[in-house]
């Protein structure tokens, strides 16, 4: 048994330690726990009771079973890159870190599937099969570090989801530990579209509230024969967003269609991967098309034509893979780059009808002026997924609250134009209240009823995803959790 000989006062921590193997499999000192008091959402911070590092499904199940029997709240965590606070322990949870379950278990290229453990890093999957001409499509900007387990929990998207779909479109099977410690499998052998209810669809994006995923079967794709990338600079946001709509209406489905506004450009150019965007432009578009070689040139010339008809200042096609990679590194590190122009940021994740972009950006600009905080916009323009980044300085009294308010106001604007409050980052802690912008109380209760089927005691990741409860039972539970 690990940790033998150590004097641990807390009985639960002693018991949990005895369920685990491997070096230093549990953290319980304040100094270590502090590193787990938040994830990529840093506005709210809470210490966990302990962090455990299981090495396999059986250890996860044993931990969960123990927590269940002893009514200890618990939650799962991957790399902690989530942006909505899904891995923050609101109730002094036992955090089950899956970073030691990081194996690529099998690859079957003939059937185009791979099986991974939840702690396996997103980009590593593509890197492991790239030499054979395959890749894993969902590519969130955090793909250098985020885990596929976390991607399943959040139903992560990414720049290339416009053409290839989000995580849920690439999940073929899951092994899962239920909140009582029982291990189940869904979608065995990676056969798509099994009969019965679409449980894979329900679990993917359930934000860690229904179970803990311990094995994932994913779809992998053959590399497109060819791809080309275009960069276009616009002096007016209206022209840029009109170009986006025009490109889509030509019938082309770009692999990616990204936009950044002036403030976002300022950040990425001040940070680690600048590419020399002009500072005085209103919007930059990054457009990528891929597929069989023969059609690509034609698509590119159509795109260039559209851009020119919409008063583009400058438009260019990447001349080498190196140039293309530089453009993408610049875009994909866009959130982190905010650190170069602001001590803190809060990123929002609204979805809007593409055609409403100029109007929405104008309203966001008004919110920025009212709150006195700068807002940068990074936009998956092709599918209408907008990321307003509210820049603030948490050291200035009052700014954090104003940032939260401004972020919420941005989401209200998105909901009001017929969009919604999250495209890919999840609700977590951050957008619980904003769920009311898009759901009635009854609709929310219907969803918490579904949760109760899986997670009846609400020990697993409680307090996430839905607004402060409207039902007595839940109020009581919350009170109990907060007083204990």
């Amino acid at each position: 048994m690990a940790m033998k000989g150590l004097k641990i006062k807390d009985k639960h921590i002693r018991s949990l330690a005895n369920l685990l193997s491997g070096p230093k499999p549990i953290l319980y000192h304040k100094e270590d726990l502090l590193a787990y008091d938040c994830d990529g959402f840093t506005i709210e911070r809470h210490l966990p009771k302990a962090v455990v590092f299981p090495k396999n499904t059986e250890e996860v199940a044993a931990i969960v079973k123990y927590c269940h029997e002893n009514m200890l709240p618990f939650l799962a965590r991957g790399a902690g890159t989530g942006l909505s606070g899904g891995a923050i322990p609101l109730n002094n949870e036992v955090v089950i870190s899956l970073t030691r379950m990081k194996k690529l278990l099998s690859v079957d290229l003939e059937n185009r599937i791979a099986v991974v453990e939840p702690g396996f890093v997103n980009l590593k999957l593509t890197n492991s099969i790239a030499d054979k001409g395959y890749y894993y499509a969902p590519d969130p900007s955090s793909q250098y570090a985020c885990t596929i387990g976390g991607n399943v929990a959040e139903n992560a998207g990414g720049a290339h989801c416009l053409k290839y779909g989000v995580t849920t479109n690439h999940i073929l099977g899951l092994e899962l530990v239920l909140p009582n410690g029982e291990i189940i499998e869904i979608g065995k052998d990676g056969i798509p579209d099994s009969p019965g209810y679409d449980l894979l669809g329900l679990l993917t994006g359930s934000e860690g509230t229904l179970g803990i995923v311990t094995k994932i079967t994913v779809r992998v794709l053959k590399n497109p024969e060819d791809k080309q990338t275009v960069l276009a600079y616009f002096d007016r946001v209206e022209d840029g967003s009109q170009a986006v709509s025009d490109i889509i209406s030509t019938g082309i489905v770009p692999a990616a269609l990204e936009m950044m506004d002036k403030t976002a450009i300022e950040a990425v150019e001040a940070a680690a991967f600048p590419v020399g965007h002009p500072r005085d432009i209103a919007a930059v578009l990054l457009i990528e098309v891929d597929g069989i070689s023969s059609g690509i040139e034609e698509q590119i010339s159509k795109i260039l034509k559209v851009c020119k008809s919409r008063n583009v200042r400058e438009v260019k096609v990447a001349e080498s893979e190196r140039e293309r990679a530089r453009w993408w590194a610049n875009r994909k590190t866009g959130f982190g780059a905010m650190g170069a122009i602001s001590p803190n940021y809060l990123v929002q994740d609204g979805v809007i009808p593409r055609s409403r972009l100029p109007e929405v950006l104008k309203k966001i600009n008004e919110i920025s002026e009212e709150s006195g905080l700068r807002i940068a916009n990074i936009f998956h323009a092709g599918d209408g997924n907008l990321h307003p980044l509210v820049l603030f300085d948490a050291r200035v009294p009052g700014e954090t609250e104003r940032a939260i308010e401004a972020g919420s106001a941005c989401l209200k604007v998105c909901a009001d134009v017929g969009g919604t409050i999250t495209g890919e980052h999840g609700v977590g802690i951050e957008k619980r209240e904003e769920m009311r912008f898009v759901f009635t109380d009854e609709e929310i209760v219907a969803q918490t009823d579904v949760r109760e089927v899986f997670n009846p005691d609400n020990l697993l990741n409680a307090g996430k995803l839905f607004p402060t409860p409207g039902r007595c039972a839940e109020v009581k539970k919350e009170l109990k959790a907060s007083t204990s």
């Binding site: 100094e31 990529g40 506005i43 911070r45 890159t81 702690g119 250098y144 905010m338 001590p343 954090t400």
Partner: protein
């Protein structure tokens, strides 16, 4: 807009964000970690996968963002300078891979070194560890004469038959495992260049003089790898450089700064800045030393006069591979006919941003076939004397490294003496038969082969 803000958020905000860190800070005022450095960190986590200790442990207190978070927490008064804080801060390899990965350019490395300085102020090393540290860091490395004596002793140990005797009699088994491993790959001690050229003020260029450079010989480099230093002098003079080896130069101080002894670091830095005062270009061939020299300004944040001098000095420092590449050099004509791979020393690639230049020097040697090493810029676990202070972690990091070193190569080239020792251990541990070399050695061999061929041809004529 009527948004209800959770009370908890407000509470946590009050705790999390003191208006001024100084009032609550648990750091000593002098040389406290620089708030500006962590202000850029937005906790995005992109750095995690770049970190070798996170790769081994999977734990965030052993990740760059975790460490930055903890360092910040001491300034916010949430943590104190104690043993538990020391563990993550001292387990960092100081490999700087996170600074390359970070989208916001957070200077994690210097921040960690500042925190170490604080820990050493709060908890000076005592007992056996304190004595060892004093002996090596204060008593030995800064003293060139003493180092040379150690070199002579080592040479005696190797040549006299004592090495064989120690190994055969099992006397060696009284040493800890990691020291046995290191003894096993100790290079054959050759002559130190400071000794060799001690009577020459300037080592003249072999061709017309293009420029004058001064060379930092390094302490370990000159004793353990005198041949690498010698190759450096030869390559420089062959390419039109007059070389001086300032006599007053001393250890660069990197090991001291890594260990949190910033006072000693400053003392050595001042001595070196004075020793190299007249030089326009300072050449280093040890990545760790080069990165330290370039970071001297970090040591003098609170001393404007020396800070300015350090900024000027740091601009003069160049790694040998980058210097040759930038100023032009003669491409060797003889063929070496060998398969090699290249390992990026952390303090060259992440510390100094030198990635492509040494590779180009090597690829341009006729007959050299370069085999790609995946994750070539991943730390090998040497990290100064980390492999002595944290042998377990260093061993795990080395195992991860060796998995990526191609089997089919004859030589592994790199630009740092610490890596050379560590990689040699990896090669031995893996039961391989590969030679670990410095980039400049390969270049020099090619030149020597070319000269030999020319001499032979002349004899024939």
């Amino acid at each position: 807009m009527n948004m209800k803000i959770d009370e908890k958020i407000l509470q946590s905000q009050v705790q999390d964000t003191p208006c001024s860190t100084s009032s609550l800070s648990n750091y000593f005022e002098k040389d406290a970690p620089d708030e500006k450095k962590w202000a850029d960190c937005v906790h995005c986590g992109i750095c995690l996968e770049s970190c070798p200790t996170y790769e081994v442990t999977g734990q965030e207190q052993h990740s760059p963002r975790g460490r930055v978070h903890l360092i910040k927490s001491v300034a916010e008064g949430k943590l104190s300078l104690n043993e538990q804080f020391m563990d993550p801060v001292f387990a960092c390899l100081d490999c700087r891979a996170c600074t390359t990965a970070c989208p916001a350019d957070v200077e994690v490395g210097p921040l960690i070194e500042e925190a170490r300085g604080q820990i050493r102020q709060a908890m000076p090393l005592t007992g056996w560890k304190g004595m060892m540290s004093k002996f090596f860091l204060e008593g030995l490395f800064p003293h060139h004469e003493r180092l040379n004596k150690v070199g002579t002793l080592l040479k005696f140990y190797q040549k006299s038959g004592m090495q064989t005797a120690v190994r055969k009699t099992g006397l060696i088994n009284i040493m800890p495992d990691h020291l046995v491993a290191m003894e096993g790959v100790m290079p054959k001690v050759t002559q130190s260049v400071r000794k060799k050229y001690k009577h020459e003020d300037v080592i003249k260029a072999k061709t017309e003089t293009k420029s004058e450079v001064a060379m930092l010989t390094g302490c370990i480099m000159d004793v353990m790898f005198g041949d690498v230093n010698d190759a450096t002098v030869k390559v420089l003079t062959r390419n039109g450089n007059d070389v001086t080896i300032p006599k007053e130069q001393t250890c660069c101080g990197a090991l001291h700064v890594h260990a949190g002894d910033r006072e000693m670091g400053r003392k050595l830095a001042k001595q070196n800045m004075e020793a190299f005062h007249d030089a326009d270009t300072v050449i280093t061939n040890a990545a760790g030393c080069g990165a330290m020299l370039k970071e001297y300004p970090e040591l003098f944040r609170e001393d404007p006069e020396w800070h300015e001098k350090a900024v000027e000095f740091s601009k003069k420092v160049q790694d040998i591979s980058k210097y040759l590449y930038d100023t032009g050099y003669e491409i060797p004509k003889a063929e070496l006919n060998t398969k090699i791979t290249y390992h990026d020393a952390c303090h060259l690639v992440h510390g100094q941003g030198v990635r492509q230049e040494p590779r180009d020097l090597l690829i341009n040697i006729p007959g050299v076939e370069m085999v790609h090493m995946p994750n070539a810029d991943r730390c090998c676990g040497s990290a100064g004397i980390y492999n002595l202070t944290n042998p377990e972690m260093a061993g795990a990091v080395l195992d991860n490294k060796m998995e990526n070193v191609p089997e089919e190569v004859e030589m592994i080239s790199m630009g740092n003496p610490g890596c050379m020792l560590q990689m040699a251990m990896g090669v031995k541990k893996d039961g391989r038969n590969q030679r670990v070399v410095h980039t400049v050695q390969l270049l020099n061999w090619a030149y020597e082969k070319e000269d030999k061929k020319r001499e032979e041809e002349n004899e024939w004529q």
